[in-house]
């Protein structure tokens, strides 16, 4: 007779096999895409992101293709001292026209550790489009519309944004209004919404280097009835661009007191034109 502890360990290791396979597959995909990007890079200029938590209305020039790697760390929840989550996104962007840009999130996946256990799981794939109504320049405010659809196992999300940007020489002011609608569970019966207001101020001392400060206010709408607890997070950002690649990083800290929301989030983005 097999002791129950051994049986439990075997079951545990069997459960981990698909996750390990997924992890290895994603590593291979990421590494392959980066290799292709590095060796086929010819453009001098990258379409860089200056702030990881907001989108800018400036879209990619027609014909440009870019690979973006996202890593987001979420930690320090008052409601769960063991909570740590790392989210990964592999994204390919394409400038369809000078005003319209599309992106495919090849995979969103995450590692999550809580007091009840830890797991690595695939979340969704997604399609994103940004249409620029007018580019930011000294004569006018930049305006763009953003739409996104995410689909995963028992998960569907629609997201719409209005992107605004005012530019003044080396200083930019960026504002995003976001409305999210999400359906989860069997037959997608659980639905909820979220409104996100984000604003950022950036300063570009050199064309390749940008400093920023951003504030993000998230307002959940559980079951589309009442507003939930608002979470306000504020933090700095730094962005660097060189040749065809760029990267930016930003930690944001919760300044409200919502126990179920992480107190610290760090997002790192890396992009390369090819």
């Amino acid at each position: 007779m097999i002791p129950p502890t051994i049986l439990a360990n075997e079951n545990q290791s069997q459960l981990n096999i698909p996750f390990q396979r997924n992890l290895s597959m994603f590593r291979i995909i990421t590494f392959s895409l980066l290799c292709v990007a590095l060796f086929s890079s010819t453009k001098v200029e990258a379409s860089s992101r200056k702030i990881p938590w907001l989108y800018e209305p400036r879209t990619m020039p027609a014909g440009h293709v870019e690979y973006e790697q996202w890593v987001t760390l979420k930690t320090n929840k008052e409601s769960d001292s063991k909570y740590t989550e790392v989210r990964f996104r592999h994204e390919i962007e394409w400038g369809v026209t000078d005003r319209f840009q599309m992106a495919v999130y090849v995979a969103d996946w995450r590692y999550k550790k809580t007091s009840s256990g830890e797991r690595t799981s695939f979340r969704d794939v997604a399609l994103e489009g940004i249409y620029q109504l007018q580019a930011p320049n000294p004569d006018q405010l930049g305006v763009a519309l953003y739409g996104e659809i995410k689909y995963g196992s028992e998960f569907l999300e629609l997201e719409a944004k209005i992107l605004l940007e005012a530019e003044f020489d080396q200083v930019n002011v960026i504002y995003n209004f976001t409305l999210e609608a999400e359906w989860e569970g069997q037959d997608l019966q659980e639905d909820k919404g979220k409104i996100i207001n984000s604003i950022a101020l950036t300063y570009q001392p050199k064309p390749s280097f940008t400093l920023g400060l951003q504030a993000i206010l998230e307002t959940p709408i559980p079951d589309w009835e009442d507003f939930g607890d608002e979470v306000l997070s504020i933090g700095p950002s730094v962005s660097w661009q060189s040749g065809s690649w760029w990267c930016c990083v930003s930690p944001i800290f919760q300044v409200t007191n919502v126990d179920s929301a992480p107190d610290l989030q760090v997002r790192f983005l890396f992009g390369i034109d090819f």
């Binding site: 001098v44 200029e45 379409s47 400036r58 020039p61 000078d98 580019a135 930011p136 320049n137 000294p138 004569d139 005012a166 530019e167 003044f168 020489d169 080396q170 200083v171 930019n172 002011v173 504002y175 409104i195 207001n197 604003i199 101020l201 570009q204 064309p207 504030a215 206010l217 307002t219 507003f227 608002e230 306000l232």
Partner: protein, 104 residues
């Protein structure tokens, strides 16, 4: 939620007071009397084509020598025609000439 709307309005109001025209002054502000159509075309290209990829930087931030190094690369990168390049070059030279405080 109203706090962030107040913050957004405040920031956009303050930034609205910043004079965007100092970045790329209009041809009227330059006080020139010749080649006005050419210079206006140059400004239009500087403000609308260059900003497809990056901010329009204040023209007087750079000296004429620095612009002579920057402009050919940017014209090539953005795919401007030689005529469009000449228009931008003429506009930049006119702005630098009219700048009473000089470059930088």
């Amino acid at each position: 939620m109203r706090h962030i709307y107040v913050l957004a309005i405040l920031i956009f109001t303050i930034s609205g007071c910043m004079d965007g025209l100092k970045v790329a002054p209009t041809v009227q502000e330059l006080g020139v009397t010749t080649d006005i159509a050419l210079l206006e075309e140059g400004r239009k290209i500087y403000v609308h084509s260059c900003t497809k990829c990056h901010n329009a930087l204040r023209i007087t931030r750079f000296t004429q020598e620095e612009w002579d190094g920057i402009l050919p690369d940017m014209i090539l990168e953005s795919g401007l025609s030689s005529a469009q390049g000449m228009h931008v070059d003429a506009y930049i030279k006119a702005v630098l000439r009219s700048s009473s405080s000089g470059p930088r």
